[in-house]
């Protein structure tokens, strides 16, 4: 729908709300106060601990409030720094830099990535500098760049590969240098032949551009590793346990910006799409831009039934437009009223379609039944934590059971119980 729409930069807005936590790990602490003047790219939060990431001012202006914003992921109000733009869009002192990242030391490169606040931009938002520092006993010999973009509707990575492949290749080379690798694989689903053709023309010879079969969820980390190399990541393990490391195309592009120009992650490409929006677009947008502004830039809603942060399979349904674009927002999908199916859930008929569909080899029907009874401990024995909520089971269920919601519910119950145990 938005696949043939070139990336357009969204014009500067007046208000930006930057959440202090846009990553997995410890929340970052604000280091600016109300009334402070900030410049574009100036750090405004300070990471707490190793698994954490700072945020930066998306433009120049003044800090209006240290308040809250509704997170598009949890739907809860989270702390955020509200910045009123001054329209000058001036860079923070010293930025942007001009340097050759490939002559830098790996430690220096890692440090640049860390201070730029880069997190996994496919949506998981795990701090990238942590992922790129595997423990010494784990040997990583396979680096895959994830250009699969298997989630329906989303086209941000595809456009990035077509239009800004230099940044992607540059970022890949930096990661290869950090990991001490001679080769990397850029995996693209075979429904994007134009991208592969172009990338193969331009790719340096140490980067192999490979096709993977179109099959949701091909772009899930573990599935992609299997598709590219045939290696399996053990249950409860990380890709590094299989000697592999995966980064999203958007993330490697951000790594290039951070190392070559010292530019922090304050801007990303995201897809605004679906039948419920007037003009589907791929936009380059600053982190912290209010969603309502983005919707307006795309011509406004039209007969919208449901607004989802992310794609239709794994995205989070939004309760209101009063939220912002974050580092991990790969897209906003707006379904029309007609597309939002309303159907009552019935009992599980044990047909087994979800079992066939599950890419992790779990038994989703059992998990959903345990979910009805709040039996999270038994669900843990059924490998609840291996489920990454791709949504294939729910999509295929003829009894319209909200299986993924049951899984999320069980995970929440389990988190609650372990928090209570810790507290007691």
């Amino acid at each position: 729908m938005a696949a043939d729409k070139a990336i357009v930069a969204m014009p500067l807005g007046t208000i930006y709300k930057v959440p202090t936590q846009q990553h997995i790990g410890a929340p970052a602490k604000p280091i600016v106060a109300v009334g402070d003047t900030v410049k574009k790219g100036q750090p405004i939060t300070e990471p707490q601990g190793f698994v954490s990431a700072p945020s930066h001012a998306p433009t120049s202006g003044t800090v209006k409030e240290i308040g809250t914003v509704v997170s598009p992921v949890s739907g809860q109000a989270v702390p955020a720094i509200v910045i009123e733009a001054d329209g000058q869009d001036e860079w923070f002192e010293g930025l942007p830099l001009k340097r050759d990242p490939l002559s830098m030391e790996p430690a220096e490169l890692l440090d640049s990535i860390k201070t730029a606040g880069i997190v996994g931009m496919g949506g998981a938002t795990f701090p990238t500098h942590v992922k790129l520092s595997p423990p010494k006993d784990k040997k990583v010999d396979l680096f895959i760049v994830n250009g699969a973009e298997c989630e329906p509707y989303l086209t941000a990575d595809y456009r990035l590969m077509l239009e800004e492949s230099e940044r992607i290749f540059g970022g890949i080379k930096i990661v290869m240098k950090i990991l001490g690798l001679k080769e990397a694989v850029l995996a693209v689903e075979d429904n994007k032949p134009e991208a592969v053709k172009l990338l193969r023309q331009k790719a340096p010879k140490e980067i192999k551009v490979e096709y993977v079969k179109v099959k949701y969820p091909q772009g899930a980390e573990k599935q992609l590793i299997y598709a590219v190399s045939g290696r399996e990541v053990p249950s409860g393990g990380l890709p590094m346990d299989a000697g592999a490391l995966v980064q999203n195309t958007g993330t490697v592009a951000a790594i290039w910006d951070a190392c070559a120009c010292g530019a922090p992650l304050i801007e990303r490409v995201t897809t605004i799409t679906g039948r419920g929006i007037a003009e589907p677009k791929n936009i380059k947008v600053r982190v912290g831009t209010p969603l309502a502004d983005v919707i307006e830039f795309c011509g406004g809603l039209k007969d919208a039934g449901k607004v989802i942060a992310g794609g239709p399979m794994m995205g989070f349904a939004l309760g209101s437009l009063d939220t912002v674009i974050m580092k991990g927002t790969s897209g906003i999908t707006i379904l029309s009223k007609e597309e939002v199916k309303k159907s009552a859930m019935t009992a599980c008929i044990s047909c087994g379609r979800c079992v066939d569909a599950c890419p992790m080899g779990l038994i989703p029907s059992t998990l959903s039944k345990l979910g009805e009874l709040n039996l999270f401990e038994r669900a843990m024995n059924e490998n609840l934590m291996d489920c990454f909520e791709c949504g294939c089971c729910t999509y295929t269920c003829p009894a319209h059971r909200p299986i993924v919601q049951y899984v999320k519910h069980l995970k929440a119950l389990s988190r609650e119980a372990s928090a209570k145990k810790k507290g007691a």
């Binding site: 509704v70 739907g75 989070f316 309760g319 309303k342 919601q405 049951y406 999320k408």
Partner: protein, 264 residues
């Protein structure tokens, strides 16, 4: 034929002897007092006493020498029976407190943020964009408290809010535990005047989301002759020890967040 009967009989006999011997040597000694107390307890395993279940509480009360009795479910007869078993007088528990739902935002009074579809459970619904009610503190009305109640003391009423059956409620607190928004509180049975709102939102937000929310105007604080009401951070809180149930606050409250409890 004979052989098979013989083999079966002998096997049975041998196994029976083993079982008898094992039962004698490996028997777990149970204190007869604990057993008797356990039998006298209601056996609902509701957790209202704080112990994991009735058996846990029976062991706890036998091991201590307190006169405080924590089971809210036991009838006066049962308490008398347990007192007799333990040989010491136990104070009455239960019957003095009941569950109270601190939200008045019924379907017609509180705004919905969106239409919720999915698991009919408040904890699960809370995970979807923070719940469908515009007010982030109000009752979601899916009845997790009703499911948690073992005593048939809660139903979700027609207005979308849970209603406590005061006859049946034993104040075990299972509903309060089940509520993801912490709306249910155990209050004294005689409590007359209550604030049916826990919102910490700014007044304007509350005003926009619910007709009967506490807007922190402090009119009740200013008018209370007993100085029993405070508004600090969240919604108004009445100090029940000071409250004389004069009803001035109920009359003055502009939104109707303060109510006479037993009247509704």
């Amino acid at each position: 034929m004979m052989a098979s009967i013989l083999v079966t009989s002998i096997t049975g006999l041998v196994l029976a002897i083993i079982l008898v011997v094992a039962a004698r040597f490996f028997a777990v000694e149970v204190d007869p007092t604990v057993k008797a107390v356990l039998e006298a307890l209601p056996g609902a395993n509701c957790g209202g006493c704080g112990a994991p279940g009735c058996a846990g509480y029976a062991a706890e009360i036998c091991a201590s020498d307190t006169s405080e009795f924590k089971c809210p479910v036991s009838s006066p007869e049962a308490i008398a029976a347990i007192s007799a078993i333990l040989g010491r007088e136990l104070g009455a528990c239960g019957g003095t407190r009941v569950a109270f739902v601190r939200c008045g935002g019924s379907c017609d009074k509180a705004q919905q943020k969106f239409e919720y579809q999915g698991i009919q459970d408040c904890k699960a619904a809370q995970l979807v964009a923070g719940g469908s009610k515009l007010c982030a503190y109000g009752c979601l009305g899916l009845g997790s408290c009703v499911t948690a109640c073992q005593f048939d003391a809660l139903v979700v009423g027609e207005n979308g809010l849970p209603v406590v059956n005061l006859e049946n409620c034993v104040a075990c607190g299972a509903c309060a535990e089940a509520c993801p928004r912490g709306i249910i509180e155990l209050v004294d049975k005689d409590t007359k005047i209550v604030v049916a709102c826990v919102s910490k939102d700014k007044p304007k937000v509350t005003k926009d989301s619910c007709e009967v929310g506490c807007i922190k105007c402090k009119i009740c604080v200013k008018n209370c002759p007993a100085e029993a009401i405070v508004v600090e951070g969240g919604a108004a809180v009445i100090d029940q020890a000071k409250c004389t149930a004069c009803g001035v606050c109920v009359e003055k409250c502009p939104t109707g967040a303060i109510a006479v409890r037993l009247a509704n």
